[in-house]
Symmetry: C2
Subunit: 424 residues, 2 copies
């Protein structure tokens, strides 16, 4: 199959884009991609490719932008229930302590998730995953973390493996037992930290080798923040995880600067995520590392807060910068990377081109898959989008809707219906 | 047809909601709507309606919220081209004067619109209108205003009538010849104002009576703002329009407080729109009137500005408050009223219930149609939404995607596919 765009084919070729190189789209006008099975076999000017692939069937994307599928590198994809009532209380100006007293906050999702069967967890998560796909996400990171006890965390891992199996979206799975202090350990956070290190991580490692022997180990992530895990506890969790062979991620600096970003850089984590209160020293540490700085603008937006990741500082310091949805039931229930782009441009001063690189090749690197996805290059997975727009700048410029016409995943073409059809 | 919701049927009954009454949803749990032809014939508890309408076929909306279709009371629906390049320049920090020098700003859309054929205008506008419909807008206001010369403005009116005819969305059409000073009158704004009053308005009146004799006259609107029309020029346009029988609207206080809102109240305009820099005196004038205060939060969002309509003040003063997309190519290309709700909650402190009333019954009043649409009541048009959510608070809580499952317009059911289907 040859896909032809008469306007802009964005290749994003050349690997992750650091600092000021961010936003190098590698545009081919009148370009094409040739796919065979699940892979890209050629990318270039349409004229040249038609000459080389004479009998190849063509998918005409004239007037449409063609680009790599989005890689969403930070989602809390799987949970039960919702917290819509909590949102209403927040908007009505009720203080956070009232919301907690009314049973709100992360622990309310933990409660609902613990009592949900695996069938129910899969059924509740499936529409979110399909919604992500319809909005152009072809690979998503997906964290556990609403179990906070071994059995439920394993159920979440099992459900995520099942969803990855049934869905066209590839999942990069993360174990986030260290999402919050489990309610049973409310007055003993160190006890919960020790439980994670001594019981959960070895159990997950063994469980994974039994249940997903052909897959590499999932990421291990920790919420390094006041009222969650201290810097020392975060180091304890991540060091133990690394010793068991897990690749690492961290939640850092959402509300306070505890030093989690520098810890991520020191330990060679794939990414440090949130980064709102990040200090200049931590920015410098990230900039010298291969740890991707992942900004989650939907979270301050969702919470109606004013402060966002200092993206321009990170970029100017030469850090690797990426964007994610942070899709979760408490602060940011949004599945669309297109909305993340629109928000990032307006709240952090990114150009559309920078935001596109931050949601494709760089976010692929944040899940350590930039060798196989995130750009349109020979040999890579055929994961790409056909957008109903004549110019890539419509990403960012337009907001609130879905600009995808078709999603191609591993060479298979899926049409997205942004319209409607009459049934009666 | 009987439509049954096992969760929440929002009726919004009882007419426009002023001040603190805003957000009265009139919820029926386990409720139903019965439709015959284009109208609602009964609304109430499902048990009762099933007893009265024994053989009525049922559309099962179990687990879904059922509510009135959105009424979007302020859109610049029809234009040619786009200004995506201008957006990129803004995000890259280029000053506004540079953008103008590069051919940007409203006049660039005027240039593209003037040279577009009516067929091209319709073809470019159709996807926007269908996108609105797919996101639940069943009635939209639609302004001319990118012509700024009689012939083009009439072409825009003609195109809007054609679109209203072919589309399921009802349009409330507005003549906005006074959108900006026409480039030919750059140094003579009073000359352009006089042209509108002496030539355009009488021409539009006659044209309308010939081309749409069965429809009431369109609204006449004016952009009362520094660098557009002064308060006196706005008064001149609106007074002339009123004398010809046109109902009135105004753009006021987007960037400066010139007194346009009080003028709207004084002249009995249907609405005063934007209202960011509105003074307390103007708020008081609106509160005493039947003029609806229409806030357009996508515009400051689109421009990455910090200041929004003082919605809480307007509501507490007892004004009629509504919300709209302001869909336009310069500052806010968004077709979704769901996104407007999400934004209004976060930037203006509305609750989801208030925002829902502001996008249905109150926005219907802003186009003076609250007698026929905007609520689910016996005798009204059967315009309603079936949402893929178990609780109305998901509107606001969730953002960036489309929560509509089906749109019912004048009793006809349209399915919205937010997912995808595989084609190859």
């Amino acid at each position: 199959m040859l896909i032809h765009s008469s306007t802009q084919l964005l290749t994003l070729k050349g690997g992750p884009q650091r600092g000021r190189a961010l936003g190098t789209l590698g545009i081919i006008e009148n370009g094409a991609v040739v796919m065979r099975d699940e892979k890209i076999v050629a990318v270039g000017p349409t004229d040249e490719l038609r000459a080389s692939y004479k009998d190849e069937p063509t998918l005409d994307a004239s007037g449409c932008v063609v680009m790599p599928g989005f890689v969403d590198p930070h989602t809390h994809l799987i949970w039960a229930g919702d917290r819509a009532g909590e949102f209403e209380m927040k908007m009505a100006g009720r203080p956070y302590l009232d919301i907690l007293a009314a049973g709100g906050g992360i622990i309310s999702t933990v409660r609902q998730t613990r009592t949900a069967s695996i069938e129910s967890l899969i059924a509740q998560t499936r529409p979110r995953l399909l919604r992500m796909f319809a909005h152009g996400t072809t690979t998503a990171e997906a964290k556990t973390g609403y179990g906070l006890q071994t059995a439920t965390e394993l159920r979440l891992l099992k459900a995520l493996l099942a969803l990855a199996d049934e869905s066209p979206v590839d999942l990069a799975i993360t174990f986030l037992g260290a999402h919050a202090i489990a309610p049973e350990y409310k007055n003993n956070p160190q006890g919960y930290t020790d439980l994670i290190c001594e019981t959960m991580l070895p159990t997950v490692q063994q469980w994974w080798q039994t249940h997903a022997p052909r897959l590499p180990l999932p990421f291990v992530d920790v919420f390094c923040e006041n009222k969650a895990f201290t810097l020392e506890q975060s180091r304890q969790v991540l060091t133990k995880a690394a010793s068991l062979g897990f690749p690492l991620k961290i939640h850092a600096d959402e509300f306070d600067n505890l030093g989690g970003a520098a810890l991520a850089a020191e330990l060679g984590a794939a990414s440090a995520d949130h980064l709102v209160k990040t200090s200049d020293a931590d920015i410098a540490a990230l900039a010298k590392s291969d740890t991707v700085a992942v900004s989650l603008p939907c979270t301050p937006f969702g919470l109606a807060e004013k402060e966002y990741t200092p993206a321009r500082k990170l970029i100017e310091a030469d850090a690797l910068f990426a964007l994610a949805t942070d899709c979760n039931p408490g602060t940011a229930w949004n599945e669309s990377m297109q909305f993340v782009i629109a928000l990032a441009c307006r709240t952090m001063g990114l150009t559309p081109a920078q935001a596109i690189a931050a949601t494709t090749i760089n976010s692929a690197h944040a899940v350590r898959r930039s060798d196989t996805i995130g750009s349109l290059e020979e040999g890579k997975q055929a994961d790409l989008l056909i957008l109903n727009v004549p110019d890539y700048r419509h990403l960012g410029y337009r907001f609130g809707t879905n600009l995808v016409r078709q999603v191609v995943k591993r060479g298979r073409i899926y049409s997205v219906d942004v319209g409607y059809y009459r049934t009666a």
